[in-house]
Symmetry: C2
Subunit: 337 residues, 2 copies
DNA sequence: CTGAAAGCGCTTACAG
DNA sequence: CTGAAAGCGCTTACAG
């Protein structure tokens, strides 16, 4: 790797002038050409690490996620990467691995690498570290759920509404015995569950505890939960799943059981994008516009890194969409809403 | 952020001693305790950037992928992240975005950030940059396909065999008119296609060009390709898809057509993991052990970063597995192999 | 516009 | 074991 010193040797210019050139400040045209020539000869590229150390900015944003095991997180990563790269900002990825425990403090790891900001789907575990970062003036953007009391921007889904929307649809189609596979692992899932329960109550449907499952957020967890529903004396006529992995697991159990969707069981999934069309009939799903969430989060961060960041934290709330498929059967006559 | 100087103020020790402590070299027990106390008070954490600059090692590995739009890449990321984090190595992610063009040279970006090594699913576009890195002595590990002439470790699939295996299965089950949705975008796909053609030829089955499609590597590309197959005068009795996205797209088109799998069309997909069980019947697939590929790649990299790297490049070739489902119909009597 | 000098926060020989 | 000094490759005021 060649350095400014090598350019200095070839051009006779000072380090300060070379630095100015590489920072886009004005330099005599002749000098600029000389630097470009020398750089081409040497195959020179400025050392980002040194730049960062001296300037105190790394043009790198940390992306901290609970794990990397769902397509939800992948889509988020892809969306953020695209937006940040357009603006010359790099991305350092950390998975929190809360489950494993003791993998070290991901947030402090990011801090030690001088990231200019952190975009995160936060976990309980990460919260204290995020507070420290905010105290130090590092901008944070939260996605998916909000750490209470953290002064930071956020992009979240109206999760209560997302949950309620699924139940409303099922009730409108005549369902009464509705099962729900959700979870208590995060405020996001709790809110979706609240939406479910509230809507059931509102429409006078029984909230039967044996129809509510909160398994591990995994394909196998949901598969087992669905299997339990299917063994009930009076099994539900419809099931709603609160995440993509849970949807996949529940559907696998349904397929294994030999029951048909929607004749024997109606189904509403969550966030399955193109997978919803993988089955016959296609699935009804509740879904978020993940690309929009990611790009909004990236934009909020870029604004914070820019010259005139706004003072107050901004929370963007997005609403989920209902994608109709053919996986919900209409029982009896359709109720009026 | 506090620094060594602050620790020096609180402990009276020299910077050299503090540095020794943080690099795990021996320090008097009393001094170690003093440093720990001061660090706790100050909430100190060594600045990784400064460390990197001075030591010339960043304990960061660049991960360079063509894009971030497939679950194949996500699984690879997840596997690598897990292994690297266990060893205290961070991961800087770049998507090459070859398609968009002009997004800047991802490889040089990584070089400027002083990554200790690069793990990559290479693209044509990245090849020259990777050569430069090798010339500079930066270790590279390639996954999925090999850039010819690059002195670097690699973990690849026996793609010819993967392609041949699918065709063999279909022929064994009595199929003759076999369609293939693949692509020419990468040596990986070309090799899978060669395996397909070779096996068809070997078993005396016609290689009909109208049964071969090489669409964009996208869900929509495969959907369109499948739709064209279905409009053929004598449509094929079976289709094999060479990637996960292509499989999803083809299956969507099949569902939309109203044809049943496997009665009207047999289907073999690629790399669908749990998605293969999403449908009734479950899908037959060819799949790679992605976790193993990722962890092998990470281990090869960690070995290169360790104290005694081997001299010669290592190529690990893995073989694909056949996962039986119920998406292949048996026509006529089963042939002997 | 340009250059000389100091310094970002560490690590690294080198003495002691 | 410890400490004083130089330096990693840049950027940043400050003069000129």
């Amino acid at each position: 790797m060649s350095t400014y010193k090598d350019l200095q040797r070839l051009t006779g210019l000072s380090l300060a002038t070379i630095s100015k050139y590489y920072n886009g400040r004005s330099v005599l045209a002749a000098n600029a050409r000389a630097i470009e020539e020398a750089a081409a000869t040497l195959d020179f590229r400025p050392n980002t690490i040194a730049r960062n150390l001296r300037s105190g900015r790394s043009r790198t944003v940390g992306v901290l996620l609970p794990d990397l095991n769902s397509s939800f997180y992948l889509s988020i990563l892809a969306g953020i990467e695209l937006r940040l790269r357009q603006r010359g900002v790099s991305m350092l990825i950390c998975a929190d691995h809360s489950a494993e425990g003791g993998v070290g403090d991901a947030v402090r790891e990011l801090a030690g690498r001088m990231v200019d900001g952190v975009i995160t789907v936060p976990t309980e575990r990460a919260a204290p570290g995020l507070r420290e970062l905010v105290a130090r003036g590092t901008p944070i953007v939260m996605m998916d759920w909000i750490v209470e009391g953290l002064e930071a921007d956020a992009v979240i889904l109206d999760n209560q509404h997302a949950g309620a929307m699924a139940i409303q649809q099922l009730i409108d189609r005549g369902h009464r015995d509705i099962a729900y596979i959700g979870g208590n692992g995060s405020p996001t899932l709790i809110a979706r569950g609240e939406g479910v329960r509230a809507q059931l109550a509102l429409r006078g449907r029984p909230v039967r505890e044996e129809y509510l499952a909160a398994p591990d957020l995994s394909v196998e967890g949901a598969r087992a939960a669905m299997q339990r529903f299917l063994m009930l004396e009076d099994r539900p006529t419809a099931v709603f799943c609160a995440t993509d992995l849970l949807s996949v697991g529940a559907l696998i159990a349904l397929n294994e059981s030999g029951l048909r969707v929607p004749q024997d069981m109606s189904f509403i999934g969550f966030d399955m994008s193109s997978l919803a069309r993988l089955t016959t009939p296609a699935l009804d799903t509740i879904s978020q516009r993940i690309d929009e969430i990611a790009s909004t989060a990236a934009d909020l961060m870029l604004a914070r890194l820019g010259p005139h960041p706004s003072r107050d934290p901004i929370t963007v709330t997005m609403s989920a969409d209902y994608h109709a498929g053919g996986s919900v059967a209409t029982l009896r006559e359709r109720e009026s809403v």
